[in-house]
Subunit: 157 residues, 3 copies
Amino acid sequence: MKKVTIVVFSGEMDRAMAAFNIAVGAASMGMEATMFFTFWGLNILKRRDARVSPPGFIRKMLAAMMPAGPHKLPLSKLNMFGMGPLMMKKLMKQYRMPDVGEMLALAKQSGVKVIACTTTMELMGIPKAQLIQDVDSCAGVAAYLAEAGESTVNLFI
Amino acid sequence: MKKVTIVVFSGEMDRAMAAFNIAVGAASMGMEATMFFTFWGLNILKRRDARVSPPGFIRKMLAAMMPAGPHKLPLSKLNMFGMGPLMMKKLMKQYRMPDVGEMLALAKQSGVKVIACTTTMELMGIPKAQLIQDVDSCAGVAAYLAEAGESTVNLFI
Amino acid sequence: MKKVTIVVFSGEMDRAMAAFNIAVGAASMGMEATMFFTFWGLNILKRRDARVSPPGFIRKMLAAMMPAGPHKLPLSKLNMFGMGPLMMKKLMKQYRMPDVGEMLALAKQSGVKVIACTTTMELMGIPKAQLIQDVDSCAGVAAYLAEAGESTVNLFI
């Protein structure tokens, strides 16, 4: 069976959409899809309700400045202080396209593996309890490489 | 025969140049190269002469703010309100390097397959007639994955 | 033996860290890892002491605006005129994570191949003498593709 492994490094709506579209598409074609969320990408997996308050001043500042969860992501271009993402969301709704939160649910239903990067979790001070339940496991670069080494399609988004 | 498949997600001059260099290089080495233009990357394939005026207010605004065609692309860094791209273009001309428009023509001559993403076309309201003639076909994520699944080199740019 | 080949196109601290983590991880798992530094990524390989003063006005301006070496890299998000990278560096030090300069040294020790892109060197007017000694070789897109064509994991970062 062909495998697709995607590193989701970016925490932007447009890039997340691309990543989910490819992963869900792969799963629906019978491929095995794995998404490895690292660095800014980890923001997508944060719980909205759980107020992240990590130990340490710098971590607190970073946590305060970063979006929590799939509903607050910026755009990589034309962000315009939040106007861009709102417009894009409205456009997607208008044309009945699922948003990032819905794509994440769809990914889980389709059997896409969702992995959170432990190195980022340690650096940013995010415990597993602060991540959404959809996360299958937390793992490091070795686990990623084991998966990637068996994948035909490897992408860094 | 080895295959190279590149997702061109970014609509910036520097990233487009990298994508075209790799695709044209691959074709010249006898590999089969496919470029799949999606999201901001689709701007590269827009016709300069055809004034895009899609239905819907948000789409109209997005179309007005996005560059049309390979000659108006921004830089991902040091853009400086358009100064950066002008400087880079001048520098490339000075050292006889082809620009994005010329690389696109070269890609076509070398047999690189140029595919436009239908999901982006629908979302942004861009009909095929608004795209340059160099586009070989319009396709979705399934067509991309079929190609990628047979490629040794898969990149997301 | 499985091969990992990474194009390091971005010149940002966060993306460089991701690239080095994957390359060093791959090498430590017995895979062959190659990093191909191009465009903004080439800034990571610039010598700090050697004052780059390339011929031509535009090149001089570009050189003056770009960071030289692994210690001056910006962040791709939350850069905040240099505050973000300082905070991130402090955080990494606090949690005993190696920075980009240390990761580069680690990569070299682990046998990761470090290649500088000749096309970028020509365009920006950077001779080999201006690059750090850790560079194994300077090569173009053909050398990259030969390597990539034999790699299981290909990434563009």
